[in-house]
């Protein structure tokens, strides 16, 4: 019974890590940008959704606002700033998103004071019992959306025309451009999808864990750990990595000496994955990611 409790709880946290990781990988696959501002976009979206609800507008409007804010913030960066860095190395592109993250974080702090807030979702009230744990509909939604996002994206990349373009861009940007693939359009789409996921993740995270902008912003670090488990490219592996990290973190609670260190799980697991990926390489001749 007690293991079931920790398993279910771990899957719930893990699906949040996975959701974040999936959003990162989708974007990175088609644009080559590892977006550290993902968490800040999620935080901004969640705060905006709270603001809408606080103004007295119906819940549905605020949830749509969260996703729309995510898309808007993500696409804004994708259209205005990312193109001028398009030909730089991946590390520089990633570092540039840190700048965007700082801007968004500063804006959030400036607009919204520190106060007790919460986002109510109607799905918080409905719940079923799994392995003796009461699981709210919100957690089930987070879990199913993360799986559905992976399935849909994998199918989309495989079968649709734009999906093919995205894969072409991911493989080789220069060649894709030569072939006449509409780079701007394809990339904007990727920024949009990733932004929508960020908005959704922020909303769910704010409801399930805590509506605190800094906490949501820096959930990008464990989400990156999940993405690393998927080698920054594979959606199914990212999902599996996120869920595994969540469960490992939760199970460590049961072993008292390790309990205070359990939140290290994402970093330790990600570091091991990186080391394993580098196995067999020669000592020198460092590779660009």
């Amino acid at each position: 019974m007690v293991y079931g409790l920790f398993l279910v709880s771990g899957l719930a946290v893990g699906s949040l890590y996975a959701l974040g990781g999936i959003g990162l990988v989708i974007l990175r696959n088609s644009t080559g940008v590892l977006n550290f501002a993902y968490g800040a976009i999620a935080a901004f979206s969640a705060m905006f959704a709270w603001q809408i609800a606080d103004w007295g507008l119906p819940g549905v409007v605020s949830w749509i606002a969260a996703v729309a804010t995510g898309i808007a913030l993500s696409v804004a960066y994708g259209r205005l700033i990312a193109p001028s860095l398009a030909w730089r190395e991946p590390a520089v592109k990633a570092i540039a998103t840190l700048g965007y993250m700082l801007i968004l974080l500063g804006l959030i702090g400036f607009i919204w004071d520190d106060a007790l807030r919460k986002i109510e979702l109607p799905s918080d009230k409905a719940a079923i019992s799994v392995l003796g744990v009461r699981v709210t509909l919100t957690r089930i939604i987070a879990f199913t959306v993360s799986i559905a996002a992976v399935i849909i994206m994998v199918q989309y990349l495989r079968r649709s025309h734009t999906g093919l373009n995205m894969r072409a861009l991911a493989d080789n940007r220069d060649h894709a451009a030569l072939l006449g693939i509409p780079i701007v359009k394809t990339e904007t789409l990727a920024w949009g999808i990733s932004g929508a996921l960020a908005g959704f993740t922020g909303l769910i995270f704010g409801s399930l864990v805590r509506l605190e902008p800094t906490v949501i912003t820096f959930m990008v670090i464990p989400a990156t750990a999940a993405a690393i488990c998927g080698r920054l490219t594979s959606l199914p592996l990212t999902l599996a990595g996120g869920l595994f990290i969540g469960v490992a973190e939760s199970m460590l609670t049961l072993y008292k000496p390790a309990a205070p260190l359990r939140t290290m799980a994402p970093f330790v697991i990600a570091a091991l994955v990186i080391l394993w990926m580098q196995r067999g390489q020669k000592l020198t001749f460092a590779k660009e990611a």
Binding site: E89, L105, P260, T284, A286
Partner: protein, 317 residues
């Protein structure tokens, strides 16, 4: 070469003599912090400018140095200056050890490894806390912190600022020395091409680890200085997010010269304190930093320091 050391010498001498005289008690403390973090930023610059390596875990290493210094200050009767030196050397060993997995990587994956390390250290600091005069290896008592010994001959905050400036200047000198001697030349070749460097008979592994060790040394010394400056350390000062911020500011300031590191320290500690003193929200500083980072990456890769020296050089003498 002799010419190029004159401006920094004049700068540090002016700071040493002038700052403690003109600053009020508040600003003495703030400038001490800024000098300490300029030192930490110099460590980031060494890796970024010399080898193109991104280190987001420098703040974590500052915490490691601070932990060692606190532990030794409470646990032994060694002089504080020696403790700071030991903290620097021990942190440089840890920094070099962290570099081992990084030897085969650079670019994005190295940045990610350091980010994961920063995240892990954040948890470690939170779980074990910083020594406060308690018993045992971890030295944490669940009570008020005990007093720390200050360095010899340092009785006041102003004296500690002078002490910090001297140590910072010495460490900057050490970095400058590296740039113009064998390690600097080796790093330049490695940055161009590892294969060529190896063909030229350079021990690539050794010099890469050497760079990490130097960067760790600077972080450790900064941590040691910080622990005595504050009297105690708090786990919340060494979050992964702070490592990201300090890296951003090192790039904004300019990684290619000592002026950039000084600017980074000033931006990191002095600007928020100024805004706070004016009653302006510190959130504004974050927005400015973010915009400055984007600006630096897109159009000014040498940072503010580069733009300053560019402006000076364009002026007819």
């Amino acid at each position: 070469m002799t010419k190029s050391i004159i401006p920094p010498l004049i700068f540090f001498a002016l700071c040493l003599i002038g700052l403690p005289l003109v600053l009020s008690a508040l600003w003495v403390k703030v400038v001490t912090s800024a000098a300490i973090f300029a030192l930490a930023a110099a460590g980031i610059s060494v890796l970024f400018a010399q080898l193109g390596l991104i280190n987001l875990a420098q703040i974590a290493l500052v915490g490691v140095g601070g932990w060692i210094a606190l532990r030794l200050n409470y646990g032994t009767a060694l002089p504080v200056t020696l403790i700071i030196a030991i903290a620097g050397i021990a942190t440089s060993v840890i920094g070099a050890a962290l570099a081992l997995p990084a030897l085969r990587m650079r670019g994005l994956y190295l940045a990610l490894v350091t980010l994961m390390a920063a995240g892990a250290f954040q948890i470690l600091f939170n779980a074990f806390q910083f020594p406060n005069g308690g018993e045992g290896f971890w030295g944490v008592a669940r009570q008020s912190a005990a007093d720390l010994r200050p360095p010899l001959m340092v009785q006041s905050d102003a004296g500690y600022l002078r002490y910090t400036i001297v140590i910072t200047a010495l460490c900057f000198g050490l970095v400058a020395l590296h740039r113009v001697t064998a390690p600097g030349r080796a790093w330049a070749m490695i940055r161009q091409s590892e294969a060529n460097a190896m063909a030229a008979g350079i021990n690539v592994t050794f010099y890469k680890i050497w760079a990490f060790a130097l960067s760790g040394l600077l972080a450790g010394v900064a941590g040691g200085l910080l622990s005595t400056a504050l009297g105690q350390l708090d786990a919340r000062s060494f979050l992964a997010s702070e490592g990201i911020l300090l890296f951003a500011l090192a790039v904004v300031g300019g990684a290619y010269s000592w002026v950039g590191a000084v600017i980074a320290g000033v931006l990191y500690k002095l600007l928020p304190a100024l805004l706070n003193d004016f009653g302006v929200s510190a959130d504004i500083a974050l927005v400015i930093f973010g915009a400055a980072l984007l600006h630096a990456i897109m159009t000014a890769p040498r940072g503010i320091a580069g733009q300053l020296s560019g402006a000076l050089q364009r002026k007819p003498a």
